[in-house]
């Protein structure tokens, strides 16, 4: 599927606890591997009606040695997996106009989210973007769960040439957006936060930060987040995220030295 692999994992009853935005951590490389850390993947979708009971779908880009190992697994192999992890997307109690924005394979969890939002009576528009056509993840069946889908590529190889953020200010100005749900590279998430700043639009973003453990003990995946009093906390994207309030993330401080509490 483009540059991505689709993995279907039979996880049984665990699917009942999986919500859009949750992620999983999978051991890679086998018993004698020199890869000692798990790999984290967003859950794309879950189904409790499969032939084998509950299944979960992951979209994996085989870029590193761990993800390549995972994509090379044969049907029927067992995996060591911890799921579900993290804080999921918040689902509104009343119908809203939701705009889902995905960058690269960051779009994967948005299709499961779209189904849930639709079932709650929300209008769901989706914008996907990537550098080129092969890096767009947009399954045909996923398109059924959205009211509209627009695609942007930086090289114009499919959809419109440009960036996902090109369209958002206009949609907000037209009053077509109450909540933005986003998932993708940090640059995209921070750009969306700049656009929603000063508007009433809520921005729930699923962040992507390198993590060693996924369960809250290693403190490597932290992001600077503003507290109510304006001071900064370094919150773990594995436990306090991956879904965070984009308005509270201090994007300008990500990866910067010289922070004070």
């Amino acid at each position: 599927m483009g540059q991505y692999h689709q993995l279907l994992i039979n996880v049984g009853e665990v699917v009942r606890h999986c919500k859009p935005g949750n992620f999983v951590a999978i051991s890679v490389g086998g018993e004698n591997s020199s890869l000692i850390l798990r790999r984290a993947f967003a859950i794309s979708r879950v189904s409790d009606r499969g032939e084998y009971g509950g299944t979960m779908e992951l979209i994996v880009a085989p870029h590193g040695s761990g993800s390549r190992w995972l994509c090379a697994q044969e049907v029927g192999n067992s995996l060591d997996i911890i799921a579900p992890l993290g804080t999921p997307f918040g689902i509104p109690t009343a119908p809203v106009q939701a705009l889902l924005v995905g960058g690269g394979y960051g779009s994967a969890p948005l299709f499961g989210l779209a189904e849930v939002l639709k079932s709650r009576g929300c209008r769901v528009d989706m914008i996907l973007g990537a550098s080129t056509v092969a890096k767009i993840y947009a399954p045909i069946e996923g398109k059924r769960s959205v009211n509209s889908l627009k695609i942007f590529t930086e090289d114009g190889s499919t959809g419109q040439m440009g960036k996902v953020t090109d369209l958002i200010p206009g949609l907000i100005a037209d009053g077509q957006v109450d909540v933005i749900y986003s998932c993708g590279p940090m640059g995209m998430l921070s750009a969306i936060s700049r656009i929603t700043q000063g508007t009433d639009v809520v921005h729930q973003c699923a962040v992507e930060e390198a993590m060693a453990c996924g369960v809250g003990i290693c403190m490597t995946c932290v992001l600077p987040v503003r507290k109510e009093d304006g001071t900064i906390s370094m919150l773990r994207s594995c436990i306090d995220g991956p879904v965070m309030d984009g308005a509270l993330v201090a994007w300008e401080l990500v990866g910067k030295n010289g922070m004070t509490p």
Binding site: S34, R38, V215, M219, T220, V222, V254, N257
Partner: protein, 318 residues
């Protein structure tokens, strides 16, 4: 019948623990997260993440890089500060019946003394780990653990406040020429036990950006890659100071690895980085170690401590 008489307990100074396997400082946060995976009261003790005087945000991301059979971390001692730690984290651990070893870290000799004073009357703490692998702000940022004078000054300062109240475990850095010499200096200054080893300083350069990968540029190397270094350090220090208890750590991920450290001279073993890949690692290592010790015919942990130092059998005489 051996199971009923097998003694799995251990001691570090005056502190007694029902089992010899611990978390490693900085690899279990304050224990809460791991309690989803095993009951904290079933292991030797929770060694908490090194706490400093004030709240600290730590270093910028990226904070980690996976390396062959290991990883680099560059957290920069992010933490809530001693006040919030004593108000929230320690009471929670005590309520959950966990034994607690509090790890402290300071930027000056005085800070260690102040931290020690704050711990003196706190109920439920079994021992204090003094993490001296931090830069000494008053001495050009030279790491305390790598400078015998600074290391001695820190232990002096902590001992003056704590002596007799709580066992003092001093955690040493392997980034020194002669670890047994540093060990002797801190023991002479009043350390009741030693924790060996902290991470080794390392660096990864990203060959795409052609800059150091970590936000803090350098990081601490941990994981199975450093285990032989830890075993060597424990062996050398136990040889030089056979009566000083050692909490061994560095790349332990199986009961076999923990057993190896006990044979080298460790009285207890901490599991650190292994918990990142396997949140149940501490309890699994402990269970495997117990089985292994019994299968080798030991009646207690104590019998196995430093067993690798026994005289080798000579050629049989004729």
């Amino acid at each position: 019948m051996r199971e009923s008489t097998f003694d799995f307990s251990t001691t570090l100074g005056s502190a007694w623990f029902p089992a010899p396997v611990f978390t490693a400082s900085g690899c279990a946060s304050s224990g809460r997260e791991l309690s989803q995976f095993f009951p904290l009261d079933s292991i030797g003790a929770v060694v908490t993440k090194s706490v400093m005087l004030k709240e600290r945000l730590g270093r910028p991301t990226p904070r980690m890089a996976e390396t062959p059979s290991g990883m680099l971390n560059s957290i920069g001692l992010q933490g809530p500060g001693i006040d919030a730690f004593l108000a929230k984290d320690v009471p929670w651990l005590v309520e959950n019946n966990a034994r607690v070893i509090v790890s402290i870290a300071g930027e000056t000799v005085d800070e260690y003394g102040v931290l020690a004073r704050r711990l003196r009357s706190v109920p439920g703490i079994s021992a204090v780990e003094v993490n001296i692998s931090c830069p000494n702000v008053d001495n050009r940022g030279l790491v305390f653990a790598c400078d015998p004078e600074s290391a001695k000054a820190v232990v002096d300062s902590v001992r003056r406040t704590l002596a007799g109240d709580l066992p003092i475990i001093v955690k040493l850095s392997p980034d020194v020429t002669n670890i047994a010499a540093i060990a002797k200096i801190v023991v002479d200054a009043g350390a009741d036990a030693l924790a060996l080893i902290n991470t080794l300083l390392g660096m990864v350069i990203n060959t795409e950006t052609m800059f150091p990968h970590l936000g803090g540029k350098t990081g601490g190397l941990s994981g199975p890659a450093i285990r032989p270094v830890a075993v060597r350090a424990i062996y050398q220090v136990h040889e030089a100071l056979p009566t000083v208890p050692i909490l061994g750590m560095g790349g332990v991920r199986t009961g076999r690895d923990a057993f190896e450290m006990i044979l080298a001279g460790a009285s207890g073993v901490s599991v650190g980085t292994a918990s990142f890949g396997n949140p149940s690692a501490v309890i699994q290592v402990q269970n495997e170690l117990e089985t292994l010790l019994m299968s080798k015919g030991f009646n207690s942990v104590r019998e196995a401590i430093g067993f690798a130092h026994r005289p080798a059998p000579g050629p049989s005489s004729t």
